[in-house]
Amino acid sequence: MLILNCPYCGVDAEETELSPGGEAHLKRYGPGSSDADFEDYLFQRENPKGVHFERWRHANGCGKWFHAARCTMTLEVFGTYAAQSLEPPKSIQKAISKKRPGWSWREFS
């Protein structure tokens, strides 16, 4: 079972306590944007086999949204961080680079 540490309340929450919220760091496009950008925002996903950044909600806990860095191939968790972050913290990026040299995910790597 997946266990993620909630960065707000500090609880090590089990999967059943959490709600998955899909890919993180999506750039939002709305009225006035191009069709391609809007399609990207709504539907296109990275879906990597490896390092992934995603949103979770501590639904049966403090109720807050946060971000997690996780490997979709091994279910290893590299770290969790606040939902207000525009990109994963350097410390987490470094930790990932150490374990998965050469990883890439959109503009972060």
């Binding site: 997946l2 996903r45 979709t72």
Partner: protein, 414 residues
């Protein structure tokens, strides 16, 4: 290829079974093929088969990373039905169900198609209305389904408790010609027929790159060397995103794990397939007597092909309420497969931004039932550039907003 028949069994019995041939060849890859299909699961092999049978394209290779039929084809709960809400889905799933009826004769391989009937339980008022709507839609589409009341449900499946405390059975959408088939046999039967047509099935050969020149696909790099091709079909389910990345385009797909489990074998106790979408569980009894149980999918991206405990608990808990008889059963095996989910829960059978490269993916939690129809449509698409069966399922539909919205019609279970 020697045909399988009752006579062949008798003949081999008389000579200590020394005359059986290998069902398919395992050749080394040639330098070039007219068509390469990546993925030797049901959909990939069916595509190759109908390319050969319907369009005479036989210089075909089917490349497989693992072993033939070892992905979702060998991991599903073998349910076949076509009671979908939207017209394009009903058309392709009904085509598939129709082809399943005669597939054993067609392939000369017993796929054990058993049209025992599929019922989707309505356990809330919302579901009752939803399935009545689907039954009406199916009537217009020419798919034989019927909305039946709780008494008929009990008659068809006596082991069911229809007055459950939480979710009493209020009725069901009944498709009498739905059922199950032997999933491995579907892959093996297609493989044998493809091999017989001279196609090469290359197992344990992973594609590591898609070679292109001037916006067109020219071949693939594999662990067994580079292979050229005129046309490429990508039919790899959960790993579609990985292949699309190699080919240089993106897909509106997320891969998640879906799991299933089987119980110890027991005496025959139910001869229909029952799906309960409100509580996320579905069950049928295999010919061996095992209860085949399917549950919900993970909500997060996952490539691990493993199950997780809490889904098993949720699924079994839900089913025990409706089927009290299973409460003391031991579960024997439990597994997960990686399914490729699209936003509207409908598949993608489409041309791609890379010319001569076609993709067939996004079947999500319901690919097995569609194998013959999917192969039929995909083969036509690859051979002729368009197919009435696959028209609505193009990649463009996400940009254009022309969704084939089955998330409500199909719910979770497939």
């Amino acid at each position: 290829m020697k045909r399988y028949s009752a006579f062949a069994v008798a003949r081999e019995a008389l000579r200590f079974h020394s005359g059986w041939e290998r069902a398919w060849r395992s050749p080394a890859p040639k330098k070039k093929y007219d068509v390469i299909i990546i993925g030797a699961g049901g959909h990939g092999l069916a595509t190759a088969y109908y390319l050969g049978r319907n369009f005479g394209i036989r210089n075909v290779a089917v490349i497989e990373k693992g072993w033939l039929g070892g992905g979702n084809t060998g991991r599903n709960t073998t349910i076949i039905r076509s009671n979908y809400l939207q017209d394009p889905s009903a058309a392709i799933y009904e085509k598939a169900r129709g082809l399943y009826e005669n597939l054993s004769q067609d392939l000369n391989y017993n796929i054990m198609f058993s049209p025992r009937g599929v019922m989707m339980l309505a356990q809330t008022q919302h579901e009752v209305r939803g399935y009545q709507r689907t039954a009406h839609a199916n009537a217009l589409q020419g798919v034989t389904t019927e909305f039946i009341g709780p008494q008929k449900v009990k008659e068809l499946c006596p082991i069911m408790n229809i007055d459950g405390p939480r979710y009493p059975v209020l009725g069901a959408l009944w498709q009498p010609r739905g059922g199950t088939a032997r999933h491995d046999a579907v892959a093996w039967g297609y493989a044998r027929a493809c091999s017989d047509m001279g196609m090469d099935i290359i197992q344990k050969c992973e594609v590591t790159g898609v070679r292109q020149s001037g916006g067109k696909v020219v071949g693939v790099d594999t662990t067994k060397g580079a292979i050229d091709c005129d046309k490429l079909g990508v039919v790899v389910a959960g790993h579609s995103g990985v292949l699309a990345d190699m080919a240089g385009f993106r897909l509106p797909i997320e891969s998640v794990a879906l799991q299933a489990l089987v119980s110890e074998p027991i005496k025959p106790c139910m001869d229909v397939v029952v799906m309960a979408n409100t509580v996320h569980g579905y069950m049928s009894q295999s010919d061996k007597g095992e209860m085949v149980i399917g549950g919900g999918a993970d909500g997060y991206n996952n490539y691990t092909q493993r199950g997780s405990f809490h889904h098993v608990e949720e699924t079994v808990r839900a089913l025990v309420e409706t089927f009290p008889i299973i409460s003391r059963l031991k579960m024997l095996r439990w597994w997960g497969g990686i399914v490729d989910m699209t936003g509207d829960r409908s598949p993608i059978l489409s041309k791609t931004p890379l010319e001569n490269c076609f993709i067939n993916c996004g079947w999500g939690t319901g690919g097995f039932k569609a194998i013959p129809g999917s192969g039929w449509g995909m083969a036509e698409l690859m051979a002729k550039g368009h197919s009435p069966l696959t028209e609505g399922f193009s990649l463009d539909r996400f940009k254009e907003g022309k969704f084939i919205d089955e998330s409500v019609a199909a719910g979770v279970a497939h």
